[in-house]
C-alpha cells in the first residue's frame, strides 16, 4: 500500500511526487526571483495608472477562475467539445493557393533582400520589425482569429509545391524517400521555437538585418530538405516550427479550411481534437516558457539574479562579457521553461493521485490541449503592446523597406503613434486576455475530464488540480506583466 492509499478519502492526496515537484517549482520560482538583465524589453509598455494595486487583479482573476470552475462543474454535465462540430460555410477554390503562395514567396524574397541590401539599423530596416513583430506576434494572433491561413502563404511550402508541379509537368515523379518517424512527433517544432526564442531573447545581435536574412535563408533550406526527405505535407504539418506554431493557435479559431471548403466550428472544439503526438506537451509548455522568460527578463527578480550568474561565467570561467551574459540568459530561458513544466507537473500529479487508472504520461498528454488557450493568452497579453505600437512601424517600412529613403506607397513619413492606446488600456486588455485564456483552458480540462473519468467525483476532483494549475499560471502571468506595466 502506498502512502497515498492511506490518505483519508475526503482529503486531496498530496502525493509525494506532487510535493517534490511543487517544492522544485517553488525553488525555481525563488531562484528566478533572484535573478533579468540586459535582455531588451520585447513587451513594450509604459506605466499604467491603476485604481487599485496590481496584485489585486491576480486575486480578482483567481476569483473569476474559481467561479468558472463552480459554474462548469454544476452547469456543464456532459462533454460538448470532444466531438467535432462544424458546419460548411462555403467552397474554397483550390486555385487561391497559387496567388497566396506567390505572395508569401514574394514577401520572403523582400525580407531577404532588405536584410542584405538595406541599412543596418533595426528601426529603419524592414527585417527586425517584420520578423519579430508581424511574423512572430501578428501571424499567431491572426491565426487564432482566422484559422490556419499561414499554410497557404508559407513560402517554403509554396516553393516546394511549385517544384513538384514543375516536376509533374516534366513527367518526373518525386517521392519522399523516408517516412516521418512517429517518435519525432512535434519535437522539430519545439526545437525550432526554442532556437527562435533564444535568438530573440538571448542573442545580443538579434536585430542585425544581415543575420536575420541569412537565418531566414538557412531556415528555408532546412524546410526544403525536410520536405524532400519526408514529403511536403508531412513535413509542413509536423516539422515546420513556425507552421506548427501558427496551426496550433489556429485551432482556437472558429473557422477552419479543409476539403476545399470553409467551415465554422464550435469554439474550442478545434483545440480538443489536438492529436497526442510525441512532443505535443513540450510544444505548449515551451511556448509558455519562452513568453514567461521574456516577461521575467524585464522584472526585478531576474534583473537581480542575472548579474550574479553572469559574473560566475565571466569571473570564474573567464568568459567575455557578451558570452557570459548570453549564457546567463540561456540559463534563465531554461529556468523559465522548467518553472512552467513544474506548474503543469503539479497539476498532472495531483490528477494522478485521484485515480490509479491513468499514469502521469497519459494524463499529461491527454490534458496538454488545455494549455493552448493559456499559451495564446500569454503571447497576446505579453506582446499586445508590441503589436499595437511597434506594429504601426510596418506602415512606413512597407514604403521604405531598405531604409534608403524610397517611398513606394507614400507612407514613408508615417510615425508610431504611442497615444493610439494608453498603458492603462493595455493593462486591462492583458488582464482580460489572461483571464479569458485560463477560463478557456479550464473549460477544455473540464470537458476532457467528463469524458475521461468514470465517476463525476473523479472528474470534479481532477478539476480541482487543473484549477490549481490555472490559478498558478494566471498569477504568474499577471506578476510578470505587472513588472513591466505598473
Amino acid at each position: 500500500m502506498s502512502s497515498y492509499d492511506r490518505v483519508p478519502a475526503c482529503m486531496p492526496a498530496f502525493h509525494p511526487a506532487v510535493l517534490r515537484v511543487a517544492a522544485g517549482t517553488a525553488t525555481l520560482l525563488g531562484a528566478s526571483a533572484l535573478a533579468p538583465s540586459a535582455a531588451s524589453a520585447h513587451g513594450i509598455s509604459g506605466q499604467a495608472s491603476l485604481p487599485v494595486p496590481a496584485w489585486l487583479f491576480a486575486w480578482a482573476a483567481a476569483i473569476v477562475l474559481v467561479i468558472s470552475f463552480v459554474v462548469l462543474s454544476t452547469m456543464w454535465s456532459r462533454p460538448r467539445l470532444q466531438a467535432v462540430h462544424e458546419r460548411r460555410l462555403c467552397g474554397w477554390p483550390a486555385a487561391l493557393s497559387v496567388p497566396a503562395g506567390t505572395l508569401g514567396l514574394a514577401l520572403f524574397a523582400l525580407v531577404v533582400y532588405a536584410g542584405y541590401e538595406g541599412v543596418p539599423f533595426y528601426t529603419s530596416n524592414l527585417d527586425p520589425t517584420f520578423i519579430f513583430v508581424i511574423f512572430w506576434v501578428g501571424v499567431p494572433v491572426a491565426s487564432a482569429l482566422f484559422g490556419d491561413w499561414f499554410a497557404a502563404f508559407s513560402p517554403w511550402r509554396a516553393f516546394a509545391r511549385a517544384l513538384r508541379w514543375l516536376a509533374q509537368r516534366a513527367n518526373v515523379t518525386l517521392r519522399a524517400p523516408l517516412r516521418y518517424p512517429d517518435w519525432l512527433g512535434r519535437w522539430p517544432v519545439v526545437a525550432g521555437l526554442v532556437c527562435f526564442g533564444w535568438l530573440e531573447l538571448v542573442y545580443h545581435d538579434h536585430d542585425n538585418p544581415v543575420l536575420l536574412a541569412s537565418l531566414s535563408l538557412a531556415y528555408f533550406a532546412l524546410m526544403m530538405l525536410g520536405m524532400a526527405l519526408f514529403g511536403i505535407d508531412e513535413w509542413s504539418e509536423r516539422g515546420d516550427a513556425f507552421g506548427g506554431y501558427f496551426s496550433l493557435f489556429a485551432r482556437l479559431s472558429s473557422v477552419d479550411v479543409h476539403d476545399r471548403a470553409l467551415w465554422l466550428r464550435r469554439p474550442l472544439s478545434g483545440v480538443a481534437s489536438l492529436a497526442e503526438q510525441p512532443g505535443a506537451v513540450a510544444l505548449v509548455l515551451t511556448i509558455i516558457g519562452i513568453t514567461t522568460f521574456d516577461g521575467a527578463s524585464n522584472g526585478v527578480v531576474w534583473n537581480t539574479l542575472q548579474p550574479h550568474v553572469q559574473s560566475f561565467f565571466s569571473g570564474d570561467l573567464g568568459l567575455g562579457g557578451t558570452p557570459s551574459d548570453e549564457l546567463a540568459d540561456s540559463l534563465g530561458l531554461l529556468l523559465a521553461i522548467a518553472v512552467v513544466v513544474g506548474f503543469y507537473r503539479v497539476g498532472v500529479l495531483g490528477m494522478r493521485s485521484i485515480s490509479p487508472r491513468f499514469d502521469t504520461a497519459r494524463l499529461s498528454r491527454s490534458f496538454a490541449h488545455t494549455l493552448v488557450p493559456i499559451a495564446f493568452a500569454y503571447v497576446l497579453a505579453h506582446y499586445f503592446s508590441l503589436l499595437v505600437w511597434q506594429g504601426q512601424a510596418i506602415g512606413y517600412l512597407a514604403s521604405n523597406p531598405l531604409g534608403d529613403g524610397t517611398n513606394y506607397f507614400g507612407t514613408a513619413g508615417w510615425h508610431v503613434n504611442y497615444a493610439f492606446l494608453g498603458s492603462t488600456a493595455i493593462w486591462y486588455v492583458q488582464v482580460v486576455a489572461l483571464v479569458s485564456g485560463h477560463v478557456g483552458g479550464l473549460t477544455l480540462a473540464h470537458d476532457r475530464a467528463l469524458a475521461a473519468y468514470r465517476s463525476p467525483q473523479e472528474a470534479v476532483r481532477s478539476q480541482y488540480w487543473m484549477l490549481v494549475v490555472m490559478v498558478g499560471f494566471t498569477s504568474l502571468g499577471l506578476w510578470l506583466l505587472s513588472a513591466v506595466n505598473t
Partner: protein, 113 residues
Amino acid sequence: MLPAPAIVRRALLPAAGLALLVLAATGALPGLIAALAYLLPLLLLLLAMKARGYPGERALLARMGGRSGDRARPSTGSSVPISLPRATVPRGGCLIAFSLAVRPPPATRAVTS
C-alpha cells in the same frame, strides 16, 4: 533510487515555502514580496485543499447529480479511455414495445466502455 523517508517528503513543500519566506523577509530577493502577493491565491487554494480535502466537493456533486449520465461520443485521439454510458433503459418505441408485446424484445445491456 530509494524513495525518501515519508517525513522528508512531507517536509519538502513547507521547507521550500519557509525558505522563500525567509528570503523575502531578509530582503535577499527583491521583488519576492510582490511575487508572493500575486501568488497568494494559489497558495491559499493549495492550503484549503490540504486542510479541508476538496472544499465544496459534496455541494458540487449534489448539483451535478442526475446530469452526469448524458454524454456524447467523443471522437478525439485522446489516449485516456473515454467512458461512454450506453442505452440502459428502454425508451421511445422500445418502451412501448416492452409494455404492449406479449414477448418483449431483448433488453439492452448497460455497458460502459
